[in-house]
Symmetry: C2
Subunit: 330 residues, 2 copies
C-alpha cells in the first residue's frame, strides 16, 4: 500500500515535471498566437537562418531591416481605412465653423452620413476630406488632434478602440524580429503623421521608423515661435510603386523581410525579395469572416489579387488568418 | 644615502602614480580634442543636464535626437563641396561616351578645368552636372560608383582621402552623444545617396539616419530584377527652410540638439531650439586658416552671416575652430 502510494507520488511528480517542462517550452516558443504550420515555420526558420553566425546566409544585425504595411497587416482596415473614419469624425467636429459644408460635397455627405454620396465623390472627394481635416495646423497641433481622437473614438462595428484592433500575431512577429536584432519599420499608404503619435506605444516602433504618405509642410516663425505648418498639398503617396521609393528614401537599403496584405504592397514585396542574399516576403490573407473579415480579389479596400497570383512563384509566404492564427486581437 | 635613495624611489613612485591618475582622468574626460572653454562646457553641461534622471530637464533616451549638418560641420567643404568635386570627376570619367560634351557647357568647362566658365554656368549649370553624374543608374549602381570614387579620390590641396577630412572633435561629439543615449542624424544639403555609402564607417551613422537632398527614383523591373532607377529630376532640397521639413519627414520629432555651420542651417537651428524643454544649438565657426580654412560672412561656400548675428540672442554656442579645437583632422 505504502509502496503503491510512493509510486503514485513518483508518477504525479514525474507528470508535474513533464507539465512544467512543456509549459516552459511553450513560454519560450516564439509566436504563441501562431498555430504550428507552414507559415509559422517559414518565418521562424528564416530568422534562424539569417541569424546563424558563420552560417552561409548570415545577415549582420545592422542590415536586418523588416518592413510592415499597416492597414490590414498590423491592424484592421474594415469597413473603411481607420484614417478615413478619423477624417469623417474630424469634419463633423469642424462643421460648426464651416456652415457652407452643409450644402457642399463631399462634406454634405459626411454630415448626413450618406456613404453612397461620399463614395460617389470619388478620389477627388476623399482628397478634399483629407485636406480639410489634416491640413492648416502645425505638426504639433495635428499630433494632439490624432492622440485625442484615438483616446475616445470607437470602431463602428466592434466598439473597440482602434488601437485595440491590432493583430496579436503580428505584435509577436514585431517583438520576435526585434529580439533577433531586426529594426522594424512601418511602410504604409496611410498618413505618416497619422501613425507616428501611437506607433511606439502600440507597436514598439518609434516615429523615425514610420514611412507613409504625406502632405507638404512649411517652416514658419509665428509669434516668434518656429513651427512647421501642414499644407493642403500632397507631398508623397507611399503606395504601390511608391513603397520601394519611400523605403529607399527613408532607410537607404533594401529590407530583408517585407510583410503586406494587398496589391498596394506588391512592389515592396518584389523589391525586398528581389535583392541578393536571403529575403522573405509575407502576405497576410484575410480569410476569417468570423473573427475579423474575409476579403481579397474583389474588395475595394485592401484588394489582394495580383500579389496573390505571384506569391507562389515568388516564394512569398501566404498567411491564412483563419487557420494560421489562434488569436486575432490582443 | 640609502635613505635618500629610498626617498627618491618613493618620490618617483608617487610621481608615476600621479601621472597615471592624470592620464586616466584625461582618458575618461569627454571630447579630448576640445580645449577647455565655454564651447566644450556648454556641450558637456547640456548633456549632463538632460541625462540626469529625476532632474528637472531630464529627456528620455527615445527623445534624444541630435542632428548634424555635414559639409563644413562634420567634414571640410573647401575649396568646393566635395560632392561637386565628385561630379566633376564623374563627368571626366563619362566624357569618352559623350563626345558632344566637348562643345557643350557646362561640360566643356569641366573637361577643360575652366572653373571660371563653370562658375558662369550658374545654378542651372551645376544642376546639369549633378543630373548627368548622379542619374540614369540604379540606386545600387550609384552606391558602388560613390564607394569606388572615395577609395581613390584625393583632395586637391591636402592630398588626403576626402573621408580623412572629417573633424576629429566632431567625431568625438558624435560618440559622446551616442554614449549618452542620443540617436545621431545627418541633415545635409548634400545628396542623401552620396553620403549613405560611407556614413556608417566614417561617422557611425547608419543610412537610415541620413537626411539629405535627393533626386527622384522610380521602381522598375529590368530583366526580371526589381530595381530603383535614379531620375534626372529634383525630389527634395534639404537646405535652409527645407531642413526642418526634412527632419520632420524623416524623424517625426523635433531634435534636442542641432549642429550647423552656415546660414543653410539657420532654420534647423531655429526649429530645434524653438521646441519646449531643454534644447541646444551649436555653430561651427571656421576661423582657422592655418589648419583648415577661415571664412564666414562673405564666403560663397558655407556662408555664415545671419545665423552668426542671431547666435548670441538665441543662446546658440559658437565654436571657434581655432581656439576651441586642439586638433582638426583625425
Amino acid at each position: 500500500m505504502a509502496e503503491r502510494s510512493g509510486t503514485h507520488l513518483a508518477r504525479a511528480g514525474f507528470a508535474a515535471v513533464l507539465m512544467l517542462a512543456v509549459a516552459s517550452a511553450r513560454a519560450s516558443e516564439p509566436l504563441p498566437s501562431w498555430n504550428a504550420g507552414a507559415s509559422k515555420s517559414a518565418i521562424v526558420e528564416f530568422v534562424a537562418r539569417i541569424a546563424r553566425e558563420n552560417g552561409p546566409d548570415f545577415v549582420p544585425p545592422a542590415e536586418r531591416i523588416a518592413v510592415f504595411d499597416n492597414d490590414g497587416c498590423l491592424w484592421s482596415e474594415q469597413p473603411a481605412y481607420f484614417q478615413l473614419l478619423f477624417a469623417i469624425d474630424r469634419i463633423k467636429t469642424l462643421a460648426p465653423q464651416h456652415p457652407e459644408w452643409r450644402e457642399q460635397q463631399p462634406f454634405k455627405a459626411v454630415l448626413e452620413n450618406d456613404m453612397k454620396a461620399l463614395a460617389a465623390s470619388g478620389e477627388h472627394g476623399l482628397l478634399e476630406l483629407v485636406m480639410a481635416s489634416h491640413a492648416g495646423m502645425t505638426t504639433e497641433e495635428f499630433e494632439k488632434i490624432v492622440r485625442d481622437w484615438l483616446a475616445s473614438a470607437r470602431h463602428p462595428t466592434t466598439g473597440k478602440p482602434y488601437t485595440a484592433m491590432v493583430y496579436q500575431p503580428m505584435l509577436e512577429v514585431l517583438d520576435y524580429l526585434r529580439a533577433n536584432g531586426f529594426k522594424t519599420f512601418i511602410v504604409s499608404g496611410g498618413g505618416i503623421e497619422f501613425m507616428r503619435p501611437w506607433t511606439q506605444e502600440v507597436y514598439g516602433i518609434p516615429p523615425e521608423q514610420v514611412i507613409g504618405s504625406s502632405i507638404k509642410t512649411q517652416f514658419d516663425v509665428r509669434d516668434g515661435e518656429a513651427v512647421l505648418v501642414r499644407l493642403p498639398e500632397i507631398n508623397f503617396i507611399d503606395d504601390k510603386a511608391g513603397k520601394p521609393v519611400g523605403i529607399n528614401q527613408h532607410i537607404g537599403r533594401r529590407p530583408v523581410m517585407a510583410f503586406g496584405n494587398s496589391d498596394g504592397d506588391l512592389q515592396m514585396l518584389q523589391w525586398t525579395t528581389g535583392g541578393a542574399g536571403p529575403r522573405l516576403g509575407v502576405i497576410v490573407h484575410h480569410t476569417d469572416a468570423e473573427r475579423e473579415w474575409a476579403y481579397d480579389r474583389s474588395s475595394h479596400i485592401g484588394k489582394l489579387d495580383k500579389a496573390l497570383d505571384l506569391a507562389a512563384g515568388s516564394g512569398w509566404v501566404v498567411v491564412d488568418m483563419k487557420t494560421d492564427w489562434n488569436r486575432v486581437y490582443p
